[in-house]
Amino acid sequence: MQNNTRHFAAIGVLVVIFTFVVFWILDAVLKFPLAASTQAGPIDSLIQGHLWIIAFLFSLVVVIAIYSLFLFRRREGDTEEGQYIHGNTTLEILWTALPMVVVIAFGYWSTVVLVDITQRPDNEIIVNAEGYQWGWNFSLPNSDAVTQELVLPVDTPIRMDLTSKDVLHNFWVPEFRVKQDIVPGRTTYLRFTPTIEGEYRLICSELCGLNHTGMIAPVRVVSQDEFAAFWNQDVQTASSK
């Protein structure tokens, strides 16, 4: 047993070191797009939390496994059988209960985030998006103008009202993080608040037939003044063409 204590100490140290190394690699390698909505903040924090747990559990299993492979490999000429151990009920209960606590904690954290990113703000504006095979139409309520470019005001809570002309589609701007399926025959909703002015791409991420690959629309996040000007003038000319 004295022997085992030394091994467990070595494994403990290795797991800690490995956890930091694996997290550092994950963080460096997983290149999320720019975070350009208020929703992206809490979502990305949750993802960071997940990555820490992944790094820890990965290190835990891999370090113990590889350590065992070296420590307990059969030496040449050794014909004995392994140690006669059937199991350990305390350990089994421990590694059932601890993961249970961790997943419930993550469930709670996610619940808080999900409530936060889906709640209805006071001053939201509504924008309609209609998906079809294979393109997008955008409009504002109480306006006949239709455009193929999604123009949104910065720092304003948006509610997208999503409809489809034909099959399932999906509304996703990677920089805003959130996405929502679009279902023919009903309206689905998606809330987000763009925070950075710039140009993005709206991509359909629910397979919708032949040219699903190309179902992309330009998105422009502009100042609130520019947004008002766009919907008063540009669109009128665009739709009257």
């Binding site: 999320f32 979502i43 990965f58 059937h86 199991g87 009903r186 699903h212």
Partner: protein, 624 residues
């Protein structure tokens, strides 16, 4: 010997004749109704139904029951068919579970090669951005076909392992219902041929999930695809029923459930899911099929200008029905593989399986929790928002029994005397790969972190890791491990190790690469991607994934070549080259027609390596 004495040939001819009969019947009915004789949709649909029956009838999978109806006796035939070479029994209806197990396995590997080839074709297209040689139509067909061919291959692979091993591990003469067992296998032949032939009549382009409305309006190939799945689903149902009865009823005296080899527990849990969930995918596809053929608008949202539409249906209903099978199906695919890991680790560690009961019950727990989590595939579908919370918590619970398995495996390694023959290497590879698959799960299980990853390549990487770790690696471990038992000869160890050394790192690159490009923002199921993603680094990643895919393919071919060679020239393996305590290793290799010359008696525990007392022994002749 004529070609028609091969059951497989008769099955294919019977399938074609059945198809033609079905079409002719449809046309006759249409003419009598005063309609134009030819209409593609009903003709192909009815033809496909008849073709399944035609194949089963022609091969002879139904003939014993037909004879019973006429009052004829059909004594159980043992051994190869009379007047034909012994190998022909593998191409026809045979009631021996060992033959059926090999049939399942070989047909499964055949489909694995077809599905893998399709993957390599579209991986080549994706190796660089821009569109090269695949049309959009073919691309969409191939991704769905790859998915479902692989599902068939996996179902056949686990069917092969279960049918071959379970009766042997229980010391049983055969499965509980040998005729049903043969029928269960032969359903797969017309089923997979229907699926493959759907490519030639327009294919189907909605991915393996076949969500309506897209699947309700696509080409005619959908009908063959739906009915192919229906046939294979019937195989799952009768096969799992047979396995459950065998495990519950045919254990020898003294073998309580907790004294079975652990693989039987995995098969038991899998069969429970198969027996009770498979109906749902049959149902969901049947509903789309009738929506297309008969205008029953189950999933039809009622859009203006469409035909055959009633407007009372709901596309989201389909997703519930579909995932009610298709999520538990994932556990059907992985539980037997995890059972193989638990089965082989003690043999190569030379010590008892750590926490046998916990591992056995964790399989059952996964099977049961698995029924409550289907909604995590629908987090962004637009269903009632409250469901997101419910399915989030239930999905996270799956991590708990899965963790128990991992930690128990580590406990089995600790203190062992480990050796690293090819099956053990594949077991260790399986653990590493399944670890990647398992750990990438919870991030998709919590809704907020799922939102940016849903329907991206991250999901593709995640489930390929679970499928390779939970099925492909353990399946290959099982092939290497039981090869000497099936053929009597040893495979080539060096080639086996080379296969492992190529495939394992290649798969890590592939699956981590897929997750990486998914995080960058690459969607699933697209024929082309934005080369600027990930700061322009995506193309290098894509190329790596493609190269890794080809290396995996090469590894698989190497394995098959190894098996073909070794079956002829491999050194004789002896009865128990692994010094295993399991019953199937206590009898001769290859196993004679009647596996057990005398009844099996259970003395000890299956994994008590280190104790002199054997697990099982055989009563001497005449010793009751």
């Amino acid at each position: 010997m004529s070609l028609f004495s091969l059951g497989l040939v008769r099955a294919i001819v019977g399938q074609i004749l059945g198809m033609l009969t079905g079409m002719a019947t449809t046309m006759l009915i249409r003419v009598m109704l005063g309609l134009p004789a030819w209409a593609a949709e009903p003709s192909w649909t009815v033809g496909a139904i008849f073709s399944i029956i035609g194949a089963l009838w022609a091969v002879g999978a139904l003939s014993d029951w037909a004879k019973w109806m006429k009052g004829e006796e059909t004594p159980m035939h043992h051994g190869p068919p009379e007047g034909k070479p012994a190998w022909t029994r593998y191409f026809g209806v045979d009631y021996n579970h060992k033959v059926i197990g090999v049939q399942y396995t070989v047909w499964g590997i055949f489909l694995l090669l077809v599905g893998g080839t399709m993957a390599l074709i579209f991986r080549t297209e994706l190796a660089e951005s821009g569109r090269q040689f695949l049309s959009l139509e073919l691309y969409n067909n191939f991704i769905g076909m790859h998915g479902f061919i692989m599902i068939f291959a996996i179902l056949l692979g686990i069917g092969g392992m279960a049918n071959y091993l379970v009766p042997l591990m229980l010391g049983a003469e055969d499965m509980a219902f040998p005729r049903l067992n043969a029928l269960g296998f032969w359903f797969n032949v017309p089923g997979s041929l229907l699926l493959l032939s759907s490519l030639f009549i327009g294919g189907w382009d909605a991915g393996w999930t076949a969500y309506p409305p897209l699947s309700a309006r696509g080409p005619i190939g959908y009908q063959l695809f739906f009915l192919g799945v229906f046939a294979v689903g019937l195989s799952s149902i009768v096969g799992s029923l047979n396995l459950l009865v065998t495990i519950l009823q045919m254990r020898p005296k003294g073998m309580s459930l907790f004294k079975m080899p652990i693989f039987c527990w995995a098969v038991f849990a899998t069969s429970l899911i198969q027996l009770t969930a498979t109906q749902l995918i049959g149902l969901s596809f049947l509903m789309v099929s009738t929506q297309r053929a008969l205008g029953m608008g189950f999933f039809d949202p009622g859009l203006p200008g469409a035909t055959l539409m009633t407007g009372l249906g709901d596309p989201i209903l389909f997703q519930h029905l579909f995932w009610f099978y298709s999520h538990p199906a994932v556990y059907i695919f992985i539980l037997p593989g995890l059972g193989i890991i638990s089965e082989l680790l003690p043999v190569f560690s030379r010590k008892p399986l750590f926490g046998y009961k916990w591992i056995a019950l964790s399989s059952l727990a996964i099977a049961i929790v698995g029924f409550l989590v289907w909604g995590h595939h629908m987090f962004v579908s637009g269903y009632a928002p409250v469901l997101r919370y419910a399915f989030m918590y239930s999905s996270l619970l799956v991590a708990v029994p899965t963790g128990v398995k991992f930690f128990s495996w580590l406990g089995t390694l600790w203190g062992g005397k480990l050796t690293f023959e090819t099956p053990m290497l594949f077991v260790l590879g399986a653990i590493s790969v399944f670890l990647i698959g398992g750990l990438s799960g919870p991030i998709l299980g919590t809704v907020p972190s799922d939102l940016p990853l849903h329907d991206t390549y991250f999901v593709v990487g995640h489930f390929h890791a679970t499928m390779f770790g939970g099925f492909v690696f353990p399946f290959f471990a099982a092939l290497y491990f039981w090869f000497p038992k099936v053929t009597g000869r040893m495979y080539n160890e060096t080639l086996g190790k080379i296969h492992f050394a190529i495939m394992t790192p290649a798969f890590w690159v592939q699956t981590l690469g897929q997750m990486g490009v998914g995080v960058m923002g690459m969607r699933r199921r697209i024929a082309d991607y934005d080369p600027t993603l990930g700061g322009g680094s995506i193309e290098a990643w894509q190329l790596s994934i493609t190269i890794a895919g080809f290396l995996i393919g090469f590894g698989v071919l190497l394995m098959l070549w190894n098996f073909f060679q070794s079956a002829e020239v491999g050194v004789l393996a002896g009865d128990n080259p692994w010094r295993s305590r399991s019953p199937e290793w206590q009898i001769p290799s290859p196993i004679p027609e009647h596996s057990f010359a005398s009844p099996m008696v259970v003395h000890g525990e299956p994994y008590d390596y280190g104790l002199p007392e054997p697990y099982v022994a055989f009563a001497a002749a005449g010793d009751d």
